[in-house]
Assembly symmetry: C2
Homo-oligomer: 282 residues x 2
């Protein structure tokens, strides 16, 4: 695996691979790789000739009082994990390589970013779409792999790609969970033991919602009520939102008849966690 | 010359040309082609294997009270002019092909768009960068050609390309003028005879500034004063702005020592015209 830190070197390697007619799979990450990321890399390896993984803790997607500095980093460990999982290139630029002095171009998806996490993190998705657009220009992947834990992120990126006529296939991949159900996240490492146990309430509440759905419940109001009731009992968990939305447009719905998403976010101590349940419909 | 109206057909042809290792030159226009556009197409033909011209009157770069409906159109004539000048493809999509229902992704260059035309046309450059980005994704040119009459546009697009790591060389080309000095513009056709004569004052005022520069004048204040005095005498011309800026950053300067731009915009009747003078410095 080749480790690359500059845009020009990355482009040079990519152009060589493209000239050799290789199919490129891309897994953009913020590093501190866990089994969720590794499942993306392995799948990218199965479906493409060459896999590029990027590690870049992107400052433009963090708000002023968010955890940019606290975000965990471990490039040495990430590097061997990415290689084992099948990456041919690891692109890990410094911040000033991606945003040199005088940087001033941003990409916004204006509607789909208003609700869910966009409501509590107003400039978050602008940072996400901007950096992913840049990474797509640099890596020129045929396919890019994203985990569905960040479901809104996947949909927003998909919308950007479609609106801007970009030639990359977005591949959404299932949430990977710990044995006890907690959705894997690099941020989990910042939870204390007590917070780690408390955080399980998020998955538990979604599991209850799933039971209700399987039993025929379709009313968003009742599902939301059940989730709220469960999470309220956990004093260490401060809910940000629980929303039930149409899966493609991310607009609120009252009945879960078609493809839907039950999405939630909460602060557990200093750590903001998200989780969701995808419901295929009947 | 092949005329193409859909994104998918255009991409198919482009991929064929790219696979055949052809160099692609691109001239994006809003149509009603004049000698200025044709000079871009001819230059693109000289410097590339294949030239793509696009004609698209882009609604997102017009303000609510601007001249989108009034903007002149003549696809039949444009088509033969583009072909004569050397275009291999003419891409002329409908509005709904570029902005289908639910479109919501926009690109903004935040600083360089604040002054000059950006000050009087607040969402104009957002529309320009968005449509040019889309066209670049569709046409995937090696080089794209823009006239320096819209100097701010060229610089803003150059900035977007640089910030977003896009692989396209922006080629700025000199302003083409009528025999009497009026900068060529598709909008000139909307001038009455009287307005057409009055509009000449813009070039005349810049010509006086150039004489002063050649005579050693470097003070922006005095150059601006001279220009204002000349334009004020023409009652049919309502000046929007005259600004003297650093050529690369487009920020106001007091002395014209390095590469600078004297840029102006004015309403002549219902028609908004722009013109400028590039000064290389000493």
């Amino acid at each position: 695996m080749e480790i690359i830190t500059t845009v020009s070197e990355m482009k040079k390697s990519i152009n060589r691979e493209r000239d050799a007619k290789k199919n490129l799979g891309f897994v953009p990450t913020m590093g501190y790789l866990h089994e969720g990321h590794l499942s993306l890399i392995r799948r990218a390896r199965e479906e493409n000739d060459v896999v590029v993984v990027s590690i870049f803790v992107n400052p433009t997607q963090f708000g002023i009082n968010e955890d940019f500095d606290l975000y965990p980093r471990n490039l040495a460990k990430d590097s061997s994990l990415a290689e084992e999982a099948g990456a041919a290139y690891l692109f890990c630029p410094e911040v000033k390589e991606m945003y040199p002095s005088g940087y001033e171009t941003f990409i916004e998806v204006t509607e789909m970013t208003q609700g869910l996490c966009g409501a509590s993190r107003p400039s978050h998705f602008r940072g996400v779409t901007t950096v992913v657009n840049k990474l797509f220009q640099i890596v020129k992947p045929h396919r890019a792999y994203f985990g569905l834990k960040d479901a809104q992120q996947v949909m927003v990126i998909q919308k950007m790609v479609q609106d801007l006529n970009m030639d990359v296939e977005i591949v959404p991949c299932p949430i990977i969970r710990e044995a006890d159900g907690l959705a894997m996240s690099s941020r989990n490492v910042n939870l204390s033991n007590g917070e780690r146990s408390a955080a399980l309430v998020l998955f538990r509440s979604l599991a209850v919602a799933k039971e209700m759905l399987l039993a025929g419940e379709q009313e968003a109001r009742r599902l939301k009520g059940a989730i709220l009731k469960i999470i309220e009992k956990e004093p260490l968990v401060k809910l940000d939102y629980v929303e039930i939305v149409n899966f493609e447009k991310l607009t609120p719905i009252e009945q879960l008849r078609d493809k839907s998403l039950i999405a939630l976010a909460a602060k557990v101590g200093k750590v903001r966690l998200i989780d969701n349940l995808y419901w295929e419909g009947q």
